[in-house]
Symmetry: C2
Subunit: 361 residues, 2 copies
Amino acid sequence: MEKRIYNFSAGPAVLPEEVLKEAQENLFALPGVGMSILEISHRSKTFDKIINEAKEDLRKLLDINDNYELLFLQGGASLQFSMVPLNLMKNNKADYIITGSWSKKALKEAKRVGTINIAASTEEEKFKRIPKQDELKLDPSADYVHFTSNNTIYGTQWHTEPGVGNVPLVCDASSDILHRKIDVNKYALIYAGAQKNMGPAGVTFVVIRKDMLERSSDSLHTMLNYKIHVENASLYNTPTTFGIYIIGLIAKWLLKNGGLENMYKVNFDKANLLYNCIDESGGFFKGHAAKDSRSLMNVTFNLTTEELEKKLIAEASAAGFDGLKGHRSVGGLRASIYNAFPPKGVEDLVSFMKDFQQKNG
Amino acid sequence: MEKRIYNFSAGPAVLPEEVLKEAQENLFALPGVGMSILEISHRSKTFDKIINEAKEDLRKLLDINDNYELLFLQGGASLQFSMVPLNLMKNNKADYIITGSWSKKALKEAKRVGTINIAASTEEEKFKRIPKQDELKLDPSADYVHFTSNNTIYGTQWHTEPGVGNVPLVCDASSDILHRKIDVNKYALIYAGAQKNMGPAGVTFVVIRKDMLERSSDSLHTMLNYKIHVENASLYNTPTTFGIYIIGLIAKWLLKNGGLENMYKVNFDKANLLYNCIDESGGFFKGHAAKDSRSLMNVTFNLTTEELEKKLIAEASAAGFDGLKGHRSVGGLRASIYNAFPPKGVEDLVSFMKDFQQKNG
């Protein structure tokens, strides 16, 4: 069996080994089916069971009640940046909270549809933090408020949802969905590209409150219309069948391992280990994000010089720690430690970092 | 190893066993990479090599010159039904040739964008045939002409492109791309959902002539803009990495097995075997499509009664021939025999059909 390395990539990202092994075992032919998951019809009984179980398991994991519909779409969060305003803007105005590059991309598409109020932005502070509740300049008559729950590039994360009163709350949760239990009832719509915590690239998960569907106009292009996708239970056209299958396996893996309560505990411990190493380094390592805005998914930090950063990345890579280079817009280092990233990998990285500090500090 | 059955499904459909085996072997970790194809970054060197080789191999297979760009997008042919008119209509008028349900779906979205001239339709004849050249009522000032090269539901196929003069020709080739060599230079744009001849569901292949890109307006939503996808070499956002990997393996499998010249020969022989069995049955089996419009990909036929059809489907299914039930809008039977469907499976089906006729004729 091929040796695996530690994958700190921001996404697509590490998946649970058990899930990979099961998918591998059954890739040539699903047991009792005689065809590969790559070959079966999306309208077959076999796939019906796969997609329905995936939905049910996700409902269980996130306690999603019947007031919400679940969709598996294509086009990533990037297509949602357009679908959200196209479907949900009924009075052509919405509030956007800007906490990083992805929020800005969402904003760009929304501006094509209506008038956007920027409720808050931390761009002037290099997106080092999440805005505080009393900084939000919300419009009570907005069609919705949009925010990005976790900012992969800057390593910041909302630890509690922005309070938005009765205005529908919309969240891009691409990079932290399923990392802990959230109260879905606070949201009107949640979307997430699967390729971080949920599965492989090519599937977008959408949770939409049923009353939102009334806003989808018949004049929308069919593939951009949430209502049509709901009416067709994500099978208006052929979905990414394999991706949905893997999401189903991951949901079962989460349920088997204590659900999201346990996942949160593991994620909290993993991140803490790394943040403690940074904070206790006496300035050798320096976290990018403000402490109260730190992400449990993406730990961003710098060293005192770019030269040292390059050295650490090179030596780490040679030692089997892959993907630690920070995003070009921030520089430094980034360790993405999503759900499936093994705690042992964080422990090993911390040892490596301490060792590096001793030799270079 | 799990036993495999004969999969006559219209799509997602059978894939080459060699490709499935290679994908299976490497699913846990790509050789020398230490991560699964499901986990690697779309911006990594490993994936760069995968996507670039897939493109080069597809260029070789279809003799595509530098005058064309190749894209791997999401959303299936269904999203192309919208993207084509949104990008290519500059004077808001286009010609559509209607040869089946998929043409009609493409038409529906195009009508949201501009005025459509139906250049021909064989709907009154239950889409049993492809219109002849002299039936086409083309507008020489149309922005483009759209046609569907193969009609999965009705089992018809264009054996040569419609002649459209200097008007850009756009083709939905979802169900017969790569089944033979075509002269790409006749086309302005070809699109295809991968899930029949190319790979798993979740990737859309687009070949676009460079001059068409001038038509993409900056006001388009980013994910719907061909020009932006070309400028970003299909990596504006995270693509369906696994699907592109499988497409790459299939392109290599085709090149290794004599390219599209040989594939066409194999496809021709497979289809002929089945059509001969139908034609020589003395009316026991009856082909749906007109002889000169028959598809090499989807062989549609009826028996004399619905009861007999049900019986044959049930007995075939028990004998390991899956997916023979015709589409609900046509009824009868449909054997989809795409590139990867093994000749032996067609031979076995023909024996089975002859045997069934002997017992029930």
